[in-house]
């Protein structure tokens, strides 16, 4: 097995709040990895650290063996780490197709952008192909702000895909969308995974995670509690305690 992405003992504090404490995690090339944990356990912060939006206080992140801990978001993306956001973020005042074009040349220097047109033929073709893949190609010329919530999720997935990243981090891809669309998204992820894409998915929908993922990591209070296959996780007493079960301990936490 080859490890594509690894997080090694990452810590991050925001003022007095310790968001991550010595959190470690790895993602195998060609796998679908899941990341679960209660709200506030640091999943999104970990995503932000991996993709360069936050710099960790200590620890390191490496991608394909190279250290990417200190790189900014655009450089991390250029190397081939794409992500979506929990609260979907699209460019609302430009068209859906233009949204796609923003990402097409992920490692192009900024000076090149001055001398080239908005899109090349091949970029337009691949942008339309990916829009077709997620099923919103009919909306290509609409302003992205007019899309529904579900369509925005699909657009966000499509414009990450158009840049052909090696690993894609999905922050709650099934959050707030209906059951049909959840299944559709799961199918898309499986199709892409068969095509060689690696995924790291944060999700609260247990069924979604357990059916889809090869390996699941559970986070609790800013650190990785346990990792394993979905069936191992399901039966782990630590996990039941922290997350799935809702034991006495959990009630005490809520009360405090």
């Amino acid at each position: 097995m080859t490890i594509l992405l690894s997080v090694d003992r990452v810590s991050k504090a925001f003022g007095g709040l310790q968001a991550l404490t010595e959190c470690s995690l790895f993602v195998e090339k060609g796998s679908i990895a899941g990341l679960i944990g209660p709200n506030g356990s640091g999943k999104t912060t970990l995503f932000n650290v991996i993709t360069g939006y936050e710099k960790p206080d200590s620890g390191s992140v490496s991608f394909e063996g190279a250290d990417i801990t200190r790189l900014g978001p655009s450089n991390v993306f250029a190397l081939g780490v794409g992500r979506t956001f929990q609260i979907t973020r699209i460019f609302s005042r430009i068209t859906v197709l233009e949204n796609m074009l923003v990402a097409t040349q992920r490692d192009e220097g900024w000076l090149r952008g001055l001398t080239r047109s908005k899109s090349s033929k091949s970029e337009l073709v691949s942008a339309m192909e990916w829009l077709d893949f997620v099923g919103i190609d009919g909306l290509a010329s609409q302003p992205a702000g007019s899309l529904s919530f579900g369509q925005r999720k699909l657009l966000e997935l499509a414009y990450v895909l158009v840049a052909d990243p090696d690993v894609i981090l999905l922050d709650e891809p099934a959050g707030g969308v209906n059951l049909t669309l959840i299944n559709e998204i799961a199918n898309k992820i499986q199709t892409l995974n068969k095509g060689g894409k690696t995924f790291l998915i944060v999700e609260h929908n247990m069924e979604f995670v357990m059916n889809l993922c090869d390996r699941v990591t559970v986070m609790h209070q800013g650190t990785d509690l346990v990792s394993g296959t979905p069936s191992e996780i399901r039966n782990d007493p630590l996990v039941l305690d922290a997350y799935l079960g809702g034991s006495d301990d959990d009630d005490a936490e809520e009360a405090s």
């Binding site: 993709t51 939006y53 900014g72 978001p73 655009s74 993306f77 250029a78 992500r83 956001f85 973020r89 699209i90 460019f91 609302s92 005042r93 430009i94 233009e98 074009l101 923003v102 990402a103 040349q105 992920r106 490692d107 192009e108 220097g109 900024w110 000076l111 090149r112 952008g113 001055l114 001398t115 080239r116 047109s117 908005k118 899109s119 414009y159 990450v160 840049a163």
Partner: protein
């Protein structure tokens, strides 16, 4: 193939070229010159601030640097008072670009309201410097060599130089809008962090846009200096300029190509005309206030966007109407 849109551009350009040939009254050609300077500056300003959403309220820094650079160079190089001065105008633009780099490096670190406030603060640093340093002549300003042209033809070269700046700014702004770079600026306006996460080198793109937009504004300031033959800190580093440029663009349509051209054309020519007609330098402020109220209340995205929305709504209604009629007939 000549598209209707292009025909309109050609008609507009022809009208602007013909204006000083038909209207020779210097009072009106002077209005034309100021209007064109503002059209060029607003277009150039909008190329960065309109596209990226970074509202720069210190664009008079570029204007003033252009004006002072030209004036100081003319003095040091002993350029005589004739058409040679015009060759220094692009140099004024270049100087404005060079100054924009450190200004941008500081101001572009912050966003939104903070950016606006920082640009205003930097603007006042420049205005105070121009007022207090000795090489700028302080409050008594600087003189340029007199150009001994006859009054009847004096305005023409200035008019066409201003027109050239405006055409240049519009072509550049249009080219940026069609480029990948322009798309990146628009992406930054909508969500800067998301753009960074899709590989856009946001800081480099912002700085490049900020610097490029200083060029035509600097040339506008340089042309203004040659035209008036003298400059004072409070007129080339003028806070009213900062605000006017932004308001003209917002009035016409922020982030559109035609908006700033239209906004500057309407507002600047009206201001100049009212000032001369009623020999009252402040009357225009009342009318501006009323106009802005109307625009902000009824067409918050500016005239150009309002009109194009109105047109597409109308054609949609017609299509709808046609369908209804067909439906009834069947």
């Amino acid at each position: 193939m000549l598209r209707i849109r292009n025909v309109w551009w050609i008609v507009a350009l022809a009208a602007l070229v013909l204006f000083p040939l038909i209207e020779t009254n210097p009072t009106y050609t002077t209005i034309g010159i100021f209007t064109l300077i503002f059209m060029g500056c607003a277009t150039s300003w909008n190329m960065f601030s309109g596209y990226s959403g970074y509202i720069n309220l210190g664009s008079a820094v570029s204007y003033g640097v252009g004006a002072y650079t030209l004036t100081l160079l003319a003095d040091h190089l002993h350029v005589p008072g004739n058409g040679d001065l015009f060759w220094l105008i692009p140099v004024g633009g270049l100087a404005a670009m060079i100054v924009a780099v450190p200004v941008g490096l500081v101001a572009l670190r912050v966003r939104r309201h903070t950016f606006v406030v920082i640009t205003i603060a930097i603007f006042f640093v420049f205005q105070l410097s121009a007022t207090n340093f000795s090489f700028t002549g302080g409050t008594s300003g600087l003189q340029l060599p007199l150009i001994p042209w006859l009054e009847t033809n004096y305005n023409k070269p200035f008019y066409f130089a201003a027109l050239a700046i405006t055409v240049f700014a519009a072509l550049l702004s249009g080219a940026v809008r069609r480029s990948r770079f322009g798309l990146q600026l628009l992406a930054i306006r909508d969500d800067e962090d998301r753009a960074a996460g899709l590989g856009v080198k946001v800081f480099a793109v912002k700085l490049a846009g900020f610097t490029m937009s200083a060029f035509a504004v600097g040339m506008g300031g340089a042309l203004y200096a040659v035209f008036l033959g003298q400059i004072y800190p409070q007129f080339v580093f003028d806070p009213i300029f900062d605000i006017s440029i932004a308001l003209m663009s917002i009035f016409g349509g922020l982030g559109t190509l035609t908006g700033p051209l239209l906004g500057a054309l309407v507002l600047e020519s009206m201001q100049q005309y009212l000032t001369i007609r009623f020999s009252n330098g402040s009357l225009y402020l009342i009318i501006f206030g009323a106009l802005f109220l109307v625009v902000v209340l009824f067409m918050p995205q500016g005239i150009v966007v309002y009109l194009s929305d109105w047109r597409s709504r109308r054609s949609a209604r017609r299509a709808e109407g046609a369908r209804v009629v067909v439906g009834e007939a069947s």
